[in-house]
């Protein structure tokens, strides 16, 4: 919500999304619940990959990596074809419903240039988000870069490290689903 407010995003234009993952099953033994489902949340925006699929897919070079490593869209060049959205395995680029052009997390580049942290990081009531260079983050949190349902980090080399929820670490992918597709897919075409 800090992201929506900072960038004046429209409904459906969700640069940061919280995926609610659920899995497992309900099993009864003589009337009581012996086996239970589980759930974890995954807060994801653009991962500003080192090898971003959106940049390679963009036919106009609007999508680019700037000198600091942040993946940005030059909206002068963007023609709204949406290839980046299809190419990105993290569902990060989303169209602006008014202009039809693509939009995505810009890492709050204005705040970062002022030496501040992105809006999402300073907003989290659970202090679950952090920001820094990959070296700093790996030193603090290790280098896990994928949990279900994220793709292998080999594909795009995302700039993200994750402290896995206890349920995510051993997630049974066979039963896991994204439970709030309606919310996270808003605006995705």
């Amino acid at each position: 919500m800090a992201c929506k407010d900072r960038s004046n995003l429209k409904p459906g234009q969700n640069w940061r999304r919280v995926y609610e993952i659920e899995g497992g099953e309900w099993k009864q033994e003589s009337g009581a619940w012996s086996t239970l489902p589980w759930s974890y949340n995954l807060s994801i925006s653009c991962n500003h990959c080192s090898d971003p699929a959106c940049v390679s897919a963009c036919p106009t070079t609007a999508m680019h990596i700037d000198s600091s490593g942040i993946v940005l869209i030059d909206s002068e060049k963007c023609m709204g074809c949406g290839y980046c959205m299809w190419a990105c395995p993290y569902e990060a680029p989303r169209p602006d419903p008014e202009t039809g052009k693509m939009s995505k997390c810009d890492m709050c580049i204005d705040l970062v240039k002022e030496g501040k942290r992105p809006a999402c990081v300073d907003s989290c009531p659970m202090r679950a988000l952090d920001f820094g260079t990959m070296d700093q983050l790996s030193a603090r949190y290790g280098d896990l870069g994928e949990v279900w349902p994220l793709p292998s980090r080999e594909i795009t080399a995302p700039s993200i490290v994750i402290t896995a929820h206890s349920k995510a670490a051993g997630a049974d992918n066979k039963t896991a689903i994204v439970a709030n597709r309606e919310e996270v897919e808003g605006g995705k075409q």
Partner: protein, 769 residues
Amino acid sequence: MSSDRLKKVAVSDRRTFVKWSTLISGSLLAGPVLQSCSDPAIGAAESAAAAAAKSPETKIIRTGCPSHNCGGKCLLKLHVTDGVITRIETDDRQGDDISDPQLRACIRGRSYRKRQYHPDRLKYPLKRTGKRGEGQFERISWDEAYDIMHSRITEITDKYGNGAIHLPYGTGSYTNTNGRWPAVRLMNMLGGSLGFYNSYSWACINIATPYMFGTLESGNQRQDWLNSRYILMWGWNPAEMKDGTNSDYFIRKARENGARVVCIDPRLSQSAVALADEWIPIRPGTDTAMMSAMAYVIITEKLTDDDFIRRCCSGYDAATMPDGYKDQESYTDYILGTRDGVPKTAEWAEKITMVPAAVIARLAREYATAGPAVLYQGYGMQRRAYGEQVVRGGASLAAITGNIGINGGWASGLANQKGGGPFWTVFPMGSNPVKQTIPVFLWTEAVVRGTELGPQEGLRGGDSLDTNIKMIWSVASNVLMNQHGNLNRTRKIVEDESLLEFIVVQDNFMTPSARFADLVLPACTQFETWGVEDGWKYGEEVFLTPKAVEPPFETKSDYAICAGLAERFGVWDKYTEGGRTEKDWAAWMIDMNYRRTRFPDMPVFRKLSASNKGVYVKPVTTPAVAFREFRENPEKNPLRTPTGKIELFSGRLFDMNMPDEIPAVAKYITEWESPFGKEAEEFPLQAMGHHYMSRVHSTHDNNIWSMEAFPQRVFINPADAEERGIADGDMVIIRNNRGKIRIPCRITKKMMIMVEIEKALPAGRRSNG
């Protein structure tokens, strides 16, 4: 819409703003008032936001997040450009130390611009033109509105007396100058009104806690959770509701400190997901059965704190029964089944709760032996039939394990913090000349048959009422047609003009309650006037909420509305104490109240205001522990109960002589309309509503940002859905023998089988309530 028009709106020229607003009202009055009038206000705000992002003239104003009774109290940092709020950030104070952590706002506060600049904001006073409840209104002037208020209040008090006027419960706004308090102050000056006691939120826990402890101050300061080894979050979901800002964060820190956290809830809530090591689903309404079975295990396996029980508890067993009740059924008698023949074993509870007996027994052992342990009770469980039992059941477990009066323990019950909770209201309302008060929930009864009500139904301050309620003045409340139970019956009562002769609703939006009003008065939001608020249940903070932007159109603060009416009654000077503005009152509340009572070190208003800090916080470095002195020396520091001890058995409850409904020890009583009754044949599912991220009661229900993130859905387990042929996203009808609602469904394993959760209060739409 043209960009020229947007620019006009964004400038602070009052005349242009009003002119633009007149255009809107034209389109609004052409159809039913409830229709949306497109979105120029939002467009204007967004355009200004875009323009303002780089504007050097942006002012930063730190303020309290508007009080709607979510349970938290957070700090907001408003960016204001050309009189429009263009961005909302949260607490950025350096340090974020555990003694004074940042007061970070949740999505409700962060999405506030979509409420503040919602096109459906009430703009002018409105008078009903069609039938009551039909939604037909016409715009009138404030002059006419005051004339109507003055003449109707005069007529009704002349004819029936002041007891015929009722200002219902409502927490849609409570920054002292905004909310129902100014109206109560005015009515008290005009001869009073029929008051109420207790609340919709805490009806049972408010009453039951003092029967155990003689006080509502049964909580340690929350930083003390870091001293706990084991935390049972029982029906408690601070991550979504915010039961005190940072309660979820403190639990996280306690867990990092080594506490094991277990969450008991029919739903895999966000608290269970993000804070707990283990989640235990339980059948709604059966918590006291599980508590009783845990007590059985603790007692029979001798895991009790016998020294604490002997010194500090009354009514545990025959040896500790109070004088005059020696032969009655003690707590242990009930748990072991010595009188009723039913030992409350884990196997007994398994059949009722659907929690495996082995899990109940393990939790009992863990809770009793892990070290200092917290059993924190949420409030949902006590908003049900026999809700007093679950409150006393939880507190009884804390008592028999000696988890009271120590660091890392928790007595349960309402648990306002030791040393004083918040004041909530410091605005002086005077005393009410009408001495009778009714239980908060019985206002419909007082409308229909007030003169028949008596003390046996909870009437206080007299043996009877002189009159039924004939007029309702509802301020910042959506109780009338939203929060109250059995709305179909309530509607019949509220729309009957022979029962209620006059209804006035004062709010930000055309709520369901406002739709049933004869007169609607447009109140401004808390960003548009001065106010003061403190930290909900824990109260270590006092927020100053300055007027950040002007009230739009013809809206006014609740205080200003009442001051205008006071003028008609010739009491303006007395009411305003010689002309105090909202800002003057804010200064008075800080300098003459908070600084003279709980916070002598707080800066004076002038300094606090000039500092633009928005909040004064008293850091908690050594958390206070409730009942510490009592535990150390119960003879010297007795509780304010008849025995001076913690009353597992209450002689006062025994004397009520209603053992089946109000037992003297905490008992599991099967609810009416339970899954075990005959109603379950026709209605096999249980439905429950929980507090939800996108809204506070019905406030924010029209906020497109928060509702997008957490849309309104009924949760239903896949097994229950499959049995009924329901697919995810289907529009479903939930019905019982009182009515039905239509709502889209979300099929999710997070919901227990045989239970649906509607993420809403029954009719919850658009309000300030």
